[in-house]
Symmetry: C2
Subunit: 102 residues, 2 copies
């Protein structure tokens, strides 16, 4: 299988966790059109309401990196940046070996 | 959506990373039969060859917990325990809000 896996943490500024999640769910709709993207989940940490995690599986790193050049994706990133509390920090870059669901 | 999301880290004893991943991939085949499991991915950290991550999405916590009572799953857990280096440590328990792929 050997897919590219990203699990990353974003922290919204106070009160903006739901708004950040909504922007990322819009992003998931864009990337779902790409045959190279198998998974793009937006999750919250129930104990940290402004902390949103994005979990992505792509064919490879190049496919992921290319997605960031998509003008619609870039527009959503532009909406998210002002409501972030600091830079993305935390998470993992992994390699999917196998399993179920992608 | 509000699914139950687990992302957990297991560390194998020296030289046993691939064996641990193989056991977990067998577990993914068992849970894939369950309508309440949407995702069970087994990934490695390319920079830490004995570190294996398991990423799971279930309808709810109860569905996940019930899977641990399955005798076949328990048999696989029994195979994994002797090759673990310490207890599982690290990861997140999250709530999927939306996205693509499950």
């Amino acid at each position: 299988m050997n897919k590219y896996f990203l699990h990353g943490k974003l922290k919204a500024s106070s009160g903006n966790g739901e708004k950040l999640a909504a922007i990322l769910i819009e992003a998931s709709k864009l990337v779902s059109r790409s045959a190279t993207c198998q998974l793009y989940l937006v999750s919250k940490d129930p104990e940290q309401p402004e902390t949103i995690w994005v979990t992505e599986v792509w064919d490879n790193k190049e496919a992921h990196d290319a997605s960031l050049q998509n003008p619609e994706v870039r527009a959503l990133i532009g909406q998210a940046i002002p409501i972030l509390d600091g830079m993305p920090a935390g998470g993992q870059t992994l390699e999917v070996l196998g399993g179920y669901g992608v």
